[in-house]
Subunit: 243 residues, 2 copies
DNA sequence: TAGTGGTCTAGACCACTTG
DNA sequence: AAGTGGTCTAGACCACTAC
């Protein structure tokens, strides 16, 4: 196997194995080569192969049986997300079988509400960047994403901000910040008048509300988000390995 | 450090570190000892310490900074679950600040519906074990859990089944089966008449519906569950490390 | 019994942050 | 420059499963 040194060895092994599974070279339900065979074939240590296989197992892609072997999970076609990619709405829409697109609705600065100031650890009256975006599945609006970022973190004029980027990239490009961890509250809710209108729902329909906080590695809150998710159209479907 | 050989070394290290964090010996936000210090102190290899720290990091308990150190995450008090324990409803209720208890409502065998037969890969007309349980937070009913298991899997008389056990233990004790992975669909829903009555909700209130399938390591469906979750009382709050 | 995955070790080197 | 976490290796031994 040829390894190009730009990525880590483990990442390259992961990509290779994901590719072989995706393309059916390792067929659903079948047994994969053993750890030793893989490490021999790729010229890497068994430990490296094992870290990759462990990651794939957590994501539900493979099933490992001690004393037997490693099997490709045949159920993965049913699933739209694992916890590694829940916040990639475009990916979510795509794996539900639609073509994703993003429409920025509002990009403005304004004064933080009391609740926002509290959650973001801001002084009362401080300003923040408000981003409202609409995600489409094909031509149908399915997710309304409202995010706020303390304006003090933003280091470019707001006119330069590309509202179609992933929150991760917005923080990277415009704030020079990396996300360390995320806290998500999942609620059921009734579509308010404005949300209902935007998502083409009846004002009394139920939707999923995903309240998210992104934090940096010093536990500073970076972003506060309210995401309204039309779960009548889009399935939020998670896999997890059972320890 | 004394290691008792009944558990794996890694598990013991994990328990020790979780304890020190829980009891504030490693204070929230503070820097923990380095990997080398820990491996010296406990007499285990650095690799073993690292696998434990990696697990704690994924669960959001600690934050790791290359070139700097490992820090205790101060935000963990706000969170009720990580993906390792979402299906431990008792734990969920407890970490929301309530005393959990379980009330078995129905334990019976019946013919599978068409939808159930499909999901569980059963022949039409096959029987299954139906378990309905009610979880209380203090004295308030908060989760209605309806689970069905193919009767062919159950190897004890249904009178012997203890309806207060975790699904994991029910499968282990009465079916000799282990759960390999789980697929969960999260929906918002309106409380139907029966669910509303059981959970003391108005018939039009919104609730969370968690549709769950548990699978064995050969991808056989073991359990199908519909869990109605009163998210007005109980917060479903997840942490996740950001890759 | 042979082969699989699970656990653990000891040590090397690298990338990064802080003082 | 010193110390931290990140990556990787080579090899040992164990627990388990299938044949």
């Amino acid at each position: 196997m040829r390894l190009i040194q730009s990525k880590s060895i483990a990442d390259q092994v992961e990509e290779l194995l994901r590719g072989r599974i995706r393309e059916g070279l390792y067929a659903p339900g079948s047994r994969m080569p053993s750890e030793s065979e893989l490490s021999d074939e790729m010229g890497v240590s068994r430990a490296t192969v094992r870290t990759v296989l462990a990651k794939l197992a957590v994501n539900g892609l493979i099933l490992r049986k001690q004393g037997d072997g490693t099997y490709v999970n045949a159920m993965m076609q049913k699933v739209s997300a694992n916890l590694g990619n829940v916040w990639d709405f475009s990916y979510l829409i795509e794996s539900n079988g639609f073509a994703p697109s993003i429409q920025p609705v509002v990009t403005e600065s304004r004064i933080a509400t009391e609740k926002e100031a509290l959650a973001l650890a801001l002084e009362p009256g401080e300003k923040l960047l408000s981003l409202i975006r609409l995600f489409y599945a094909d031509t149908r609006p399915v997710i309304l994403a409202r995010n706020v970022i303390p304006l003090s973190l933003v280091c470019v004029p707001i006119e330069q901000i590309d509202g179609r980027l992933h929150i991760r990239d917005i923080l990277q490009n415009y704030c020079k910040k990396e996300i360390a961890f995320v806290i998500t509250d999942i609620h059921s809710a009734r579509a308010g008048a404005d949300v209902a209108a935007t998502l083409s729902k009846q004002p009394n329909d139920t939707i999923l509300e995903l309240e998210v906080s992104f934090f940096s590695d010093d536990s500073t809150p970076l972003v506060l988000g309210s995401n309204y998710f039309d779960d009548a159209v889009l399935r939020l479907s998670l896999v997890q390995a059972w320890t």
